[in-house]
Symmetry: C2
């Protein structure tokens, strides 16, 4: 790998870090950005929300399905969504980036551009990171957030009688995955939903302000993730299909592929919508829609009062 072949090895670690950090505009929460042993980030609440999610090439993304920019956006989005799901406002992300030495430097800078684009959409900056060599691209992002003097909204506060609601899209990423697996590239709406989620970050703090009793980021599928709330809160959760809007677009894709769009909505992962429970009779915050109710302990997660036939989530070790 010669110094001018355009690979990350040819470009060099320090030059590449320069290329991906220079000229970036840090928000006010970044008190000290990249370039020292560590970053310094504002934590006005006196507590910091922190989460890490790792994306691996060939497991969580494919560069023949997604552009490098979409991969970068996704890596940041899945983490900011976890911060939002605690009811917190994101403050920064840090990036651990591993790739083969012969990776084109252009691919890395495009992934970083995507990270910065999504970070900016979430109101934060990339305040630090590490770049190393590996056999495949592995992107580890850590996101931090501020609770703004509210208590964190955990998975364990749901109470029987609460309203179950969601904010954000359901089933779109799964429909997009089904399309891509058939070798198609359209409809672009669902395909792009698979390539990169668009989590509704402000909906997390809004739900917390509105008194949400529990909240979770839907990464593995609605029913699977509601199972975590059911277990942590020791309640049942019933999804009402009459409350689930299945968009015309999902219905069209379902018809075209001979698939049941309801299954995508109930079990499809990677949309990173937020699900939360709210006290009954309270008005839901803007953008949130009721999809069911919290029921008595022991009944688990049900759909219209019954166990759902196609349940299941996503375990990373299983081969799909």
């Amino acid at each position: 790998m010669s110094p001018d072949d355009g690979s990350v090895a040819g470009t060099g670690e320090f030059a590449l870090i320069q290329a991906v950090t220079n000229g970036r505009r840090q928000p006010a929460t970044t008190l000290l950005g990249p370039g020292d042993d560590a970053a310094v980030v504002a934590a006005p609440d006196g507590r910091v929300v922190a989460t890490t999610d790792v994306l691996v090439q060939g497991v969580h993304f494919r560069l023949d399905w997604s552009s490098p920019e979409q991969v970068g956006r996704k890596a940041v989005a899945v983490n900011l969504s976890d911060v939002a799901a605690m009811g917190a406002k994101p403050t920064t992300v840090l990036v651990g980036f591993a790739c083969p030495p012969d990776t084109p430097a252009q691919v890395v800078t495009e992934i970083m551009n995507g990270m910065w684009a999504e970070a900016t959409r979430g109101g934060v900056g990339v305040s630090g990171g590490d770049m190393v060599s590996a056999d495949q691209i592995v992107i580890s992002v850590t996101a931090l957030g501020d609770l703004e003097d509210r208590e964190p909204v955990t998975r364990s506060g749901a109470r029987p009688g609460d309203v179950l609601a969601v904010c954000g899209r359901l089933g779109w990423a799964a429909a997009g995955l089904a399309v891509l697996r058939r070798g198609f590239r359209s409809p672009v709406g669902v395909v792009n939903a698979q390539r990169c989620p668009e989590p509704p970050y402000p909906a997390g703090p809004q739900a917390a302000l509105a008194g949400a009793t529990s909240m979770i980021d839907i990464s593995d599928g609605l029913l699977a993730d509601l199972g975590h709330i059911a277990a942590a809160s020791d309640v049942g959760l019933d999804v009402h299909t009459t409350d689930l809007e299945i968009s015309t677009r999902l219905q069209e894709v379902g018809t075209a592929l001979g698939a049941d769009p309801l299954r995508w909505v109930l079990t499809g992962g990677e949309d990173h919508a937020l699900a939360a429970t709210f006290p009954p009779f309270d008005e839901l915050p803007e953008g949130w829609r009721r999809i069911g109710a919290v029921t008595m302990p022991g009944s688990g997660v049900t759909v219209d009062g019954k166990e759902y036939g196609h349940e299941g989530g996503w375990e990373h070790w299983q081969q799909h």
Copy 2:
């Protein structure tokens, strides 16, 4: 991979996460530990120090040279050391962990045991993380820290006339690497120094309290890392070899391998000692020893006033 073959795939992601988190004792700084969308960690200063370092199997560690426990300890140590180098007290670590599905679950739990051991040595807990599948083991650790109402000690505050000092071992990891490369496993002191550093975490806050004007974690080698202080502070730095204690053990290993131990001390990486500059005439904090002086801008990093012949650091993309 069957459910009982002892692999991570057979064990399953959720069962494995249970196995590596159950029964762990979180310190008081962990306000909400693993198991929700994100952790909540104390940040009493109102600012949080944050850093991420990634370790890759075959690049940063080898499981035929190090035990899984040593690998885990190292992954945490290199990050806590970066927090200390800002003059901050570590508060927590988060772990992004990727490994092949056929990795023995035992290896993963031993790596996690090592992480917890080193986290405990640093006074922190493992408050969150992610486990995913990849072709090789990749460990991404993020460490957070608290400034305790002090200003962060950056790389940019050194002034001509300041004293240059270090705390911690120099050259031991490089000597250990030389031993391992020859196929030997002893002397165990230097070999273990290569397998896992023992950074002097409390020395970071102590240096900050004592008025350190700049500080850095020595990960790539003394001269290479002093180069970062020289560049960021726009000063020169001169190392006095008469002030460098080369231990009997390093001299013995050097003699046995026909190598110059001074080179290990000046250019060897991975010891994670701390280097800092202090105002002249002030007493150095306990454990710190003077090794040179800050000189005028433009002279770079010198050894006894002259450029050192064997300079160099470590770029991750280069093949060694």
